[in-house]
Symmetry: none
Subunit: 289 residues, 2 copies
DNA sequence: TCTCGATGTGAGAATAATTTTCATCCAATT
DNA sequence: AATTGGATGAAAATTATTCTCACATCGAGA
C-alpha cells in the first residue's frame, strides 16, 4: 500500500529513464516540499513536464498525482513522529529553547502514562473498585500535589454517588479515618510513599478495619508496606528536578482506572447521576456564544 | 505550521457555523479518508458545497484545499507511527474488560498530551512566563476539577518563589482579583471556557489592568474571547462520558510548560528555592526503610 | 549508411478539480 | 415591516491534472 512509498521511490528511481529519474530525484531531495507542490511546480523543479510527473505516479501505482502527494505527506508525518520519540530521556536545562522542552515533556509524560498502564494490575484495580462500590464511606488521603489529586479523584467519585471524602487538612483526615470501620475503604496517595500525614491516616484507617490502598511509585515504601493493596504509579524522576511533577499524570491515571472500574459496576446509577450533575453545573455556565 | 491541524480543528469546529461545522465533523470522523478525498467528495460527505470546504480551509489558515489535505495526511502518518489508532473512537462501556479499558485510556491520554504539545504555542507560553516572573502577584482561577489543577499549578509556582495564589472559593477569588493591578497576571482555567465564576474573576482581573490568560479547550469560548492570551488544551471528549476527565492531563501539561518556562527564567533562584522546599518537606517524611 | 520500430518525451488539448463571484436566504435588529 | 449582516450554495472562472499525439532519439538489422 502507501506504506513505504518513499522507500520504493528511492529503490527504483535509479533504474528509471532520464526524465522520470529526475522527477524521483527531485522528490527524494525534499519529500515534504514535494508534497506541498503542485504537479506543475514539481515538473519545473525536476526539469521535466507535468505529463512526466503523472507518468511517474503511475509507475509507482498511484491513481494520480493526488495519491502520491498524500502518500508523501503521510510519510513525512511518520518521520516527524519518529524523531519525536527520540527526544525521550533528555533533561530540560535552563537554556533549552522552550519548543524543545515542550517536546521532551510531552514525550516523557506520554511514555510515563504508557508505563503506568503497563504495570497497572487490572485485578487489583477490580478489587479496589468492588470495595469502593460496597463501602459505606471512602476516604482519600494526600498532601500537597498528591492532595490535589486526591481532591480530583474524590470529587469525581462523589459525582457518581460514591460516599467519598478527601481532606486537605491532616487533622481532619485523621479524625475521619478514625470513624471508618469494616468494609470501608481508605486510599492514600504519596509519590514517594513516605509522607507522614498520609501514612498516619492510612494506618489509622487500617486499625479500624477499613481496606487500605496505597497509590505510590515505590512498592517497598512505608506506605506500600502498610497498605492492604498497592497500586504502583510509574516513577521516572527526570527532567529539571520536576520530580513529582510528572508523577501527577501517573497518579491521575491510576485513579482514573479505579473510577472507570467503579463506574462500570454502577452503570445505570452512574448515568443518572451524570445527568443530574451536568444539569446542576449547567446553570453556572454562561450561554453559548 | 502543519503541526496540530487536527487538534485545532477539533478545538474550533464546535464554534463554527452550521455548514462549516459539518465539514469539520466529517473530517474528524475519518481524517485519513478526508485526506484522500477530492474537495467535491468531501463536500458531499459533509452535506455542504465545495465552496464551503474551501472556506473551511481558509478558516484554519490554509491557502486552499491542497494545504489541508497535506496537513491531514501528515497527521495521519504521525498517528500511524505512534500507534495512536489503537482505541481511538472506542467508548469504554460497562462490560468492557478492564484491561481493554486501561489500554484505551492510556492511548487516549498519551495522544491527548501529544496533541496538546503540538498545539501549544511556545511564543505565548514565553510571554506568559515573562509576565509571571515580573508580576507582583499571580492569581490562578479554576472551579471543581480545574480548581484542583489551579491548586497544583499555584503550589508549584509558589515553591519557586512566585507570589501566586489559587482559590477554591469563588468570592475570595473575586476579591483577590479586584486587588490586582497593572503588571500582574491572572490565569483562568476552564475546560469548556464557560464557567461563570472563572469568567467573572478573570474579567475583574482584566479590568484592573492585569494580564489575563485563558487555559481552555475552546479557542472561541467566552473565556478565550475575554482573555489577553489563550493557551488551548486539547479537547477530545471521549470515553464513557468522562469528558473533562482527560482534559486534566492536558491542562496540567500546559501549566507545566508555563512552569518550566518560568523556572528557566529564574534558574539560580529556582534551584535554591528547591533546596529549601525539599528540606522543609523532608521533616514530614518518615525515614527511608 | 539507411530504415524501422521501440521507447521516451513534452506540447497542447481535454478534463477534472478548485477557487471565486454573486444572488439568495435566514436570523437578528431597528 | 424593513434593514442589515453573515452564511450558504450555484455557477462562472480559474487552475491543476490527465490524456493524446506528434516528434525525437536510439539501437538493431538491412
Amino acid at each position: 500500500m502507501a506504506a513505504g512509498a518513499l522507500g520504493r521511490i528511492r529503490t527504483e528511481t535509479p533504474a528509471l529513464p532520464e526524465a522520470l529519474r529526475r522527477v524521483g530525484e527531485a522528490i527524494l531531495a525534499d519529500p515534504a516540499a514535494a508534497a506541498r507542490s503542485t504537479i506543475i511546480t514539481l515538473a519545473e523543479r525536476s526539469g521535466s513536464s507535468p505529463a512526466t510527473v503523472t507518468r511517474f505516479c503511475r509507475v509507482f501505482g498511484f491513481a494520480g498525482y493526488a495519491g502520491l502527494r498524500v502518500a508523501l505527506a503521510t510519510e513525512d508525518g511518520r518521520a516527524a513522529q519518529a524523531n519525536w520519540d527520540m527526544g525521550v530521556g533528555h533533561e530540560i536545562g535552563p537554556t533549552d529553547p522552550l519548543d524543545a522542552a515542550i517536546g521532551v515533556m510531552a514525550a516523557a509524560d506520554s511514555r510515563l502514562i504508557q508505563e503506568t498502564a503497563a504495570q497497572l494490575d487490572a485485578g487489583t484495580v477490580t478489587t479496589v473498585a468492588e470495595a469502593v462500590v460496597a463501602a459505606r464511606r471512602v476516604l482519600i488521603f494526600g498532601v500537597s500535589t498528591s492532595g490535589a489529586v486526591a481532591g480530583m479523584a474524590g470529587g469525581r467519585l462523589r459525582r457518581i454517588r460514591i460516599p467519598c471524602w478527601s481532606h486537605a487538612d491532616a487533622h481532619e483526615a485523621l479524625a475521619d479515618a478514625a470513624l471508618l470501620g469494616e468494609g470501608d475503604v481508605a486510599i492514600g496517595i504519596s509519590h514517594q510513599g513516605r509522607t507522614r500525614e498520609v501514612l498516619e491516616s492510612l494506618a489509622e484507617a487500617g486499625d479500624r478495619g477499613a481496606l487500605t490502598v496505597a497509590v505510590t511509585s515505590f512498592a517497598r515504601s512505608p506506605l506500600a508496606e502498610l497498605a492492604d493493596l498497592v497500586l504502583t504509579t510509574a516513577s521516572r524522576e527526570t527532567t529539571f528536578r520536576l520530580g513529582g511533577l510528572a508523577a501527577v499524570h501517573s497518579q491521575l491515571f491510576v485513579l482514573d482506572a479505579v473510577y472507570v472500574a467503579v463506574a462500570q459496576r454502577t452503570y445505570e446509577q452512574t448515568n443518572e447521576a451524570f445527568e443530574r450533575t451536568i444539569r446542576a453545573l449547567e446553570s453556572h455556565r454562561v450561554e453559548r456564544n
